[in-house]
Chain length 225, copies 2
DNA sequence: GTCTATAGGGAGATAGAC
DNA sequence: GTCTATCTCCCTATAGAC
């Protein structure tokens, strides 16, 4: 059911979306209320009707990014039968995570790019959300190893950090016109589960290697000081 | 014999190190010349004797980060015998990349954290350095696949993006007191080469082709939805 | 809810003394 | 080489009209 939003809520979301986009391109300090206002078709002073400070805005943007991913992955995992293998869980979690971060890409990118620049008080709550999401992954992997499904000699904690690091980095090079999210998810799962040396038969068809290169994201135009 | 630096060069390096640290913590726009000056025990105006603008400074920081890694990895690969396997090349490249980014951690972190916030004109040159480093990895992987060493069905271009994304992310969670760089490198290599399900130990195999798989896992299907 | 106007504080960069 | 002093610009946030 399509919820009807109050006029205030509509503006609020417009401001939020604009903020994510501007934070994404200019970082925390580089983002000005004026730039957000322009993007949201407002005047700078009007933003303060919806959010009482720049810090409150970035806090909201950060939480949306993590929560969207957590929710999507949780749902996808819950939809699996109880007897699902660790391999299947990892495949499903990767696909859900990827599709979520690409869908709320501005928020994900904003989150990544302001990381470490946001005042401690603001980022503390967000860090907790992020840690609890990491714990979910950790459990999937630990369970699979205990059942003898995963035979890797590598630390699962490190493996989790590798996986989430690489996954979140995808938004930096993903380009809508290139490979599909589904294809990326499949390749990523294959990579994570079987590595470079493992793998099945010679591959079906490899698309042009140049199809997806990094550094394709909208570049900010920043005035040089 | 330790090179003797001119007084000017010493100050310049002090400014550069300070800049990397401040850019790391505050991002591009959040970094002020005054903060860099404080860190370098100077006054803000004095920085302009060494660098003529904030943009020139960030440009220098960015390039140092990439060049340090490129140089270290290039040297490590060059030290390998010509008959080295793709697996060995990947192991060596991972170890060299990791130790380099941890050693120049401030520069690496600064680079990551100002990514996408730096004026286009400044980042263009750095992007070229970064791409040429990526091409080096690509070649190692392509060669190994052509020799039949890598049997993954995943795109090698995507795999390369995953690997470098995860590798560079390590600086975000690495803590000097924790696991050693060597241990992280070993686990990372095992993860990259054999995945979670594989169990290949970091065997000190000689250059004779290890034709037999180190484990007898059922090999992966294309996809198991 | 959104506007205009502005207070009050820093920012990058330059000039010239030492 | 490094300092102090300062110019000019633009930022966040508030006040009050509509």
């Amino acid at each position: 059911m399509a919820k009807k939003l109050a006029k205030s809520a509509i503006s609020q979301k417009r401001v939020l979306d604009a903020a994510a986009k501007i934070f994404r391109d200019f970082g925390y300090a580089g983002t000005t209320m004026r730039a957000i206002a322009d993007e949201a078709d407002l005047k700078a002073g009007s933003i303060y009707y919806h959010y009482k400070s720049k810090d409150e805005l970035i806090g909201a943007v950060l939480d949306i990014g993590v929560n969207a991913v957590t929710q999507r992955v949780t749902e996808a995992l819950a939809a699996l039968p109880p007897e699902a293998t660790g391999r299947q869980r990892v495949e499903v979690a990767i696909a859900a995570h990827l599709s979520a971060i690409i869908e709320v890409g501005d928020y994900t990118l904003a989150t990544r790019r302001v990381a470490g620049q946001v005042p401690e008080a603001i980022s503390a709550r967000n860090t907790r959300l992020r840690d609890s999401y990491g714990a979910m992954w950790q459990q999937i992997m630990n369970d699979a190893q205990q059942r003898g499904e995963f035979k890797t000699t590598a630390s699962l904690t490190l493996s989790r950090l590798f996986i989430l690091g690489a996954l979140n980095w995808t938004v930096e090079w993903y380009k809508p016109g290139g490979r599909s999210v589904e294809q990326i998810a499949r390749d990523f799962a294959s990579f994570v589960l079987d590595g470079l040396s493992g793998g099945a038969a010679p591959l079906p068809v490899e698309f042009s290697e140049a199809a997806t290169e990094p550094h394709d994201n909208p570049r900010p135009r920043i005035r040089s000081a």
